[in-house]
Structures are given as C-alpha cells and as structure tokens.
C-alpha cells in the first residue's frame, strides 16, 4: 500500500511537470486538433476527384460539360486558362486530369456537327483509368443532345440551330417525357453498401482516429527524454538509495506518462465527438483500445529512454520516430493508398493495429469481439516493449550510467 502511495506521488509530480511545459501542451492538444481540422476540412468525408477544365466562358458546350461533370461522382472542377497550365497542374497533382473545350467548339458544332475535345490523363495507370472513364461519362452525357441535333438536322434537312433547339427542349424537363416515351429513359441509381463511410459519417472521423493514435504515441515517446534526463542527473541512482527504490520511481514515471496519454486521449476524443461529430463507437471497446495502446506507447517511451544516451539526441529523435512509425502504420497516409509491400510492413507497427481497430469501431460499428485480435496484438507489443525496457534499464543502472 505504501509503495502504491509512493507511485502515486511520483505520478503526480511527473504529470504536473509535463503540464507545466508549454511545448508539451502544443503537442498534446493544439497540434493534433489543428491537424484534424485542416485535414478533416480539406480531405475528409467523400473523396474528391479533382479535374481540370479549360473552356471558353459562356458557350453551350462548356455549360453542358460542366453540368455533366457536376453530375459525376465526387468530382470537383478547377478551371484553367490554357492547356499548358492544366498540364502543369496534372504533373503537380493539383488535379488528376482534365479536359479542354476548343475555343470555337460551338462554331465547329454548327458547321460540322462535331468537335474534338482534348483530355489530359495522368501517367499513373489507376488514376488514368478513372480519369478516362469519368471524362468519358461526362462527355457522352454532354454530347447526347448535340449528337441528336446533328443526327436530326442531317436526317430532316433542318438547319442545325433549329435541330439543336428542339433536341435541347426534348432533353430538358418539359420534353423529357416525350423523349423517354421513345426509349433511352434509363435512370441511374447509386447505392452504397453497409454502414460504411458515406453513411453520414463525420468527415473528421478518419483523421480523428489517425491523429489520436499518432499523437498519443508521440506524447508517450516524449517520456524517453525525461527518462534519459533522470538517468543523467542521477535522480534514478538517488532513488535507488531510498526505501521506495528504483522500481517504484520507474513505475511512477511510467504511471505519470500513462496518465498524461490517457488525458490526451480523452481530450482528443471529447474534442472529436463534441466539436466534429466523430462517433467513436462502442464505449467499452474504445476504452480498452485507448488503454492498451497507451500502454504500448509508454512501453516504447521507456524502451527508448533506457536505450538512449544523450538527452538532446533522444529529444530530437523521438518525434521523428513517432511520425515515421505512425506514418508506416497508416496514421498520415490512409492505408489503402499504400503499395502492397508497405501494407505488409505496416503490420509491424502497433499503429497499424490501433488504426485498424478504430476503423472497425468507428466505421463498422464493431464491438469488443471484433477487435479482440487487435487488442491481443497490441498487448503483445506493450509486453515486449515494457520487458525490453526493464531489462535495458536494469543493465544501464548496474553499469552506473
């Protein structure tokens, strides 16, 4: 009991020290929330397909094409002055691809009933297919009445202007019925399966869970610096002379960081839920996940703290380790964009298992049962880290460093 009190006392001291440190606070709350806001507002929710359009203003073809693109699934249009600047934008990934309407498209249509649009398609094959298909759908959609007008003008010998006006009318809401009665009335419905991401999920959900995992781990790793400092200044050796002993001190320090990570997790979860409408899923499963992952983080911090020799170096290195491990585990770039080899590498990080479990909780409404495997793997990571840290720490203290 007395030992426990000593642990609590140390915990309180460490916690107070950390909270007083304003640099720490930046990492603990402000930065993750800021990143969540920026990534959430800009990339969250439906994934967009950014397409470029170079088209003369106020022309019929332009209007039709823009309308057809607006019907497309998650398409966002960026306008460019000329082909060259759009090509640059494609190379820079500002847009994935684009289409050019010739300046005199309307005139060409009037003269010959047809015109050719240029499309720019990205080099990467997967995106190229998407861009081709999306532009193909939109161009065909836009072309339907124009083709019909050209066809009718040719067939009936009517001037093209008149044929166009008729086709336009029939394509519009008033003429739709007449046209549909003759065929071609195909409705396209879209439906999403499951309780998936588009099912009213907050656009912040994905980045909120990723940030939670990324930043609690970084916070936990920061403990390494303090541990190295405690070692260097001889606090640990002095503590080994007190009745409480080094074990108590280390438990206390670890307890303090663990408590801090919990505080941070709770703050981020509350901010996410209240401020951004993130539904974190089954409370019990979420709580278990937070606790287990924070233990993993603190274990990793202890391990780095036991292994590191120099405070400055460890201090500079821990954020790098945190971000690199987090990125490999899918905290910065969503896992589905990873190349296959990197997806396998990701499984070597605790982050992968945590992000995967959060995905299940948040998007698939899973419960504890569904994430048992993740919890077990994470507990394994935690156990290995803590064990390795205590072995390392014992060796370090014996060698008197």
């Amino acid at each position: 009991m007395k030992r426990l009190l000593a642990v609590q006392a140390f915990t309180a001291v460490v916690l107070r020290q950390l909270l007083r440190d304003r640099t720490a606070l930046i990492f603990i709350v402000a930065l993750p929330v800021a990143i969540m806001i920026i990534i959430g507002t800009t990339f969250g929710g439906q994934q967009r397909l950014d397409l470029g359009v170079v088209a003369p203003e106020g022309r019929a073809v332009t209007e039709r094409l823009l309308a057809a693109l607006a019907d497309g699934e998650g398409v966002r249009v960026h306008r460019y002055r000329d082909l060259e600047s759009m090509r640059k934008a494609v190379r820079r990934f500002t847009v994935v691809g684009g289409v050019v309407v010739p300046v005199d498209a309307d005139g060409e249509l009037a003269a010959s009933g047809a015109t050719v649009l240029s499309i720019v398609v990205p080099r990467t094959s997967e995106q190229a297919v998407t861009v081709r298909r999306v532009l193909d759908g939109a161009v065909r959609d836009a072309a339907a009445p124009l083709t019909a007008a050209a066809f009718a003008a040719e067939r009936t010998g009517t001037p093209i202007e008149m044929a166009s006006a008729t086709a336009e009318f029939l394509d519009g809401p008033d003429g739709a019925e007449a046209a549909a009665a003759l065929g071609g009335g195909i409705d396209v419905h879209t439906e999403a399966i499951g309780t998936g991401r588009s099912a009213g999920e907050s656009r912040f959900s994905q980045t909120a869970t990723q940030n939670l995992v990324l930043f609690t781990f970084i916070t936990a790793l920061t403990s390494a610096t303090l541990l190295v400092r405690a070692r260097r200044t001889g606090i640990l050796r002095r503590a080994s002379a007190t009745p409480a002993g080094v074990g108590t001190l280390l438990c206390g320090m670890a307890g303090g960081w663990f408590a801090l990570c919990l505080v941070q997790s709770v703050v981020l979860i509350v901010v996410g839920a209240v401020g951004f409408g993130v539904r974190w899923g089954d409370p019990l499963a979420a709580a278990l996940l937070v606790v287990v992952f924070d233990i993993v983080g603190v274990g990793a911090g202890l391990l780095v703290g036991a292994a590191g020799a120099n405070e400055d170096r460890v201090g500079a290195l821990t954020p790098v380790i945190g971000i690199v491990a987090g990125s490999l585990g899918g905290c910065t770039v969503p896992m589905q964009f990873f190349p296959a080899a990197m997806q396998r590498v990701a499984r070597l990080t605790p982050h992968y298992w945590a992000v995967d479990a959060w995905d299940a909780l948040v998007f698939d409404r899973a419960g504890v049962n569904e994430i048992v495997k993740n919890l077990v793997v994470l507990a394994g990571f935690g156990a290995v880290f803590v064990l390795a840290a205590s072995v390392g720490m014992r060796r370090v203290l014996q060698s008197g460093r």
Binding site: T23, F93, V121, A128, F151, A152, G184, H189, I193, R313
Partner: protein, 410 residues
C-alpha cells in the same frame, strides 16, 4: 575586417559543437531524410490495384444482354487512340458477370461487401424495354464506400451507358418532332441509324508532358523546410543559452562585437541548414531516381529558403527571454507555419489552404520546389518565390537580430 574573422571563428566553433553533439545531425539530416523516405515509399503513386466491376443482368432482354457482352469485352484499354498508357491500363479495369442467383440485389451487395468485386452495375428488370421502347428502367450502381475509385469508375460507366441510350432516344424524338410525325410510331431503321451516329463530342488524349511531381522530392523539400526551423532557430536560442551559461559575457569581453557574435552564429546555422537540405536533395534524388529539377534553381531556392526561415526563426526566438521559452515558441510557430504552408498535406492542396499558404515562407518555398520538380516552373515564378523568401527573411531577421542584440549589449 577583424570582426569578419571573429565571425568565422564563432561560426566554426558553433559548427564544431553542434556536429559533435549529434542532435544537430538528427534535426538537419536524419529527421527530414527519414520522413522523406517514408512518405516517398508510402505515396509512390503506383499501387497495384485492379478495379473489378461486377455486371448483373436481371432483365435478360436483348438490349441488356448486348450491353453486358459489350461491357465484358471492354478490357479497359480502349481509352483513346495511340494512348501511351494503354498497355499499362489493361490490367487495371476488369468487368465480370455476376450470377444473380436467387438473392438478386442482395447477392450483389454481398459480392461487393466481401470484395468479390469492387463495385457492381445491376441492370434491373425492365431495362431493355425502357432503353428501346420507352417506359422507365434502372441501372443501379452498387458501391463500397471504402472503394472510392471503383465506385467512381462504376458510376461513370453507368453515366456513359445511360447517355448512349439517351442520345438514341433524343435523336429519334428530335427527328420525329422536326418531321412532324406523331410519337409512338417505331422506326427500327431510324433507331439503328441514331445509334450509329458518331457522337458530336469526341475526345483525344494529349500527353501530360514534362515530369510528374515525385513524392520523395516533394516530401524531401517539405520535411527539410519543417526541420529547418529547429536547425536555424538554434542561433538565437544559443545566444540565450550562452547568456545563461556566462560564456556570452566572456566572448563579449574579448574585442568581439555583438554583431560579430550574431553573424557567426547565424552563419553556422545557415551552413548547417543548407548542408542538411543538400544532403536530403542528393539522397532522395539518387534513392528514388527523382531529380528535384534544375540544379541551379534548386540551389538558389535552398539558400533563399534557409535565409527566410533563419529570419523567421531568429525573430521568434528573440521574443523569448529564456532558452526554454524559445524552444516552446519555436515549436509552436514551426507547426503553425507547417500546417498553413502545407508541409503536412500532400501536393494536392485544397484551395483554402493554397490561399493561406501564401502567408508563410513554407508555402512559397514548397510551391516553388514542387513547380521545379514537376517541370512546371517558369523563371518568373521562381524569381517571385525567391524574392518573397528573401524579403521575409530580411524583414523578420532584422527585427530579430535587433532584439537579440539588445539582449547582448546591456
């Protein structure tokens, strides 16, 4: 002249101390390099994805069956004539016919959910009739929200199919309206001719040209800029640290002026910053085979970026009274500017962020690096970025240096 040599002496000492304490190597080289490599690996752009779209014919009419067989024949490579990416695109898109079985639409949903296909097109009963003879029929696109790309492709294929039928319907209706024939009378020949009419709008692919932005180069530059704050902010922070340690007074008691001390320290962080940047540049270029662009422009941009960030970081650190405060302020400003400047976001930046990034040196520098890398830079765009960076560095730097000087000359 004597002060110049003292500046160099101080610069050399700071460099020696920082290289010896390897934390400088971590912040200038290891950190940005590790991050650039990781992001370079993660965002390499070529994921080995094949989009499989299931096609289900619940209608079994002549029209629906002909549509299904034409879709199945579509191997995704038809794209455009002389398309350079065509060969590679072959594997990417694939249509497969799903057996509707008894469960009909539910069976399709399951097939999408369990990943048998990534999305599906369902031709509902009545499709053929609606397509050819009027009435209403549906084409249902079943998407998995986690398979965004596949969903988009399937929806666009549906849009394209529907547009084809609409075009025929409209053609016939327009002819009839113009010819004054009443509706209802069916002319098979007319329909066939309408279907064979070449579309008014056709597309032709033009090459992207130039060189694609490389993730390794983009993040190499982005992460170097991010870590620069810590590298170059060290100048002002070390003045505070040396004041606390008493070595500053000792240096000032020699014939060295405060200006020489500041110049020496700034020069040393500048050298470190440029050296780190250059290492990241060379390593990512070689490792990922991703040249950053014209070497002269890249060099000029690196130097002006280091100058700008040194100015801002000196200013920030000069607002602090102790080294600890300076650390906290530097970290806060670093991440604020990195967020606004887009260092944490990939190259595809949303419009709002792109506007905000103009306020930061990070944004200007990163954009110029991306332009250079993607072969999208012009002489004037680079010159503008460089001048903005130099002005930012000069303005913030001169205020910062004045403040630091006031700490030294008491």
């Amino acid at each position: 002249m004597a002060q110049l040599s003292r500046t160099l002496v101080i610069c050399a000492l700071d460099l020696r101390r920082r290289v010896r304490n390897r934390s400088a190597v971590i912040t200038t080289v290891v950190g940005p390099l590790a991050m650039a490599i990781v992001f370079g690996l993660l965002v390499s752009g070529t994921s080995e994805l094949t989009v499989r779209i299931g096609v289900v014919d619940l209608d079994r009419s002549a029209a629906s069956m002909s549509l299904v067989s034409s879709l199945l024949a579509d191997d995704g490579s038809e794209a455009a004539d002389g398309d350079p990416g065509g060969a590679a695109a072959q594997q990417v898109l694939q249509f497969v016919e799903l057996d509707p079985g008894g469960a009909a639409l539910d069976g399709v949903r399951n097939a999408v959910a369990d990943g048998t296909v990534d999305a599906a097109l369902v031709l509902e009963a009545g499709f053929g009739a609606a397509a050819t003879a009027g009435g209403s029929g549906s084409l249902v696109v079943v998407q998995d929200p986690e398979q965004v790309v596949s969903g988009q492709i399937a929806a666009s294929v549906a849009q394209s199919v529907a547009a084809g039928y609409r075009q025929v319907g409209l053609s016939v209706a327009t002819v009839m309206a113009l010819a004054g024939t009443g509706s209802g009378a069916f002319d098979e020949a007319l329909i066939d001719a309408a279907g064979a009419q070449s579309p008014a709008l056709s597309v032709q692919e033009v090459p992207v040209g130039g060189r694609d932005l490389s993730a390794a180069a983009f993040y190499g530059a982005g992460m170097s800029i991010l870590f620069l704050f810590f590298t170059v902010g060290f100048a002002a922070r070390s003045v505070l640290a040396e004041r606390e340690a008493g070595t500053l007074d000792r240096v000032l008691a020699t014939p060295t002026t405060a200006g020489a001390v500041i110049a020496g320290k700034t020069l040393s962080v500048g050298v470190l910053g440029v050296a780190g940047f250059v290492v990241v540049w060379l390593v990512t270029s070689v490792l990922f085979d991703a040249p950053w662009g014209d070497p002269i422009a890249v060099s000029v941009l690196i130097v002006s970026t280091v100058f700008a960030i040194a100015g801002v970081a000196t200013f920030v650190a000069s607002l602090a009274r102790t080294e600890r405060q300076a650390d906290a302020a530097t970290a806060a400003v670093t991440f604020l500017l990195a967020l606004l400047g887009g260092n944490f976001v990939g190259p595809n930046q949303p419009p709002l962020l792109r506007r905000l990034s103009v306020l930061t040196p990070n944004g200007w520098s990163l954009r110029a690096f991306a332009d250079l890398n993607a072969d999208a830079a012009t002489l004037s765009s680079i010159a503008t970025a460089v001048s903005v960076l130099l002005v930012m560095g000069a303005v913030f730097g001169s205020i910062g240096v004045r403040r630091v000087r006031s700490v030294m000359v008491r």
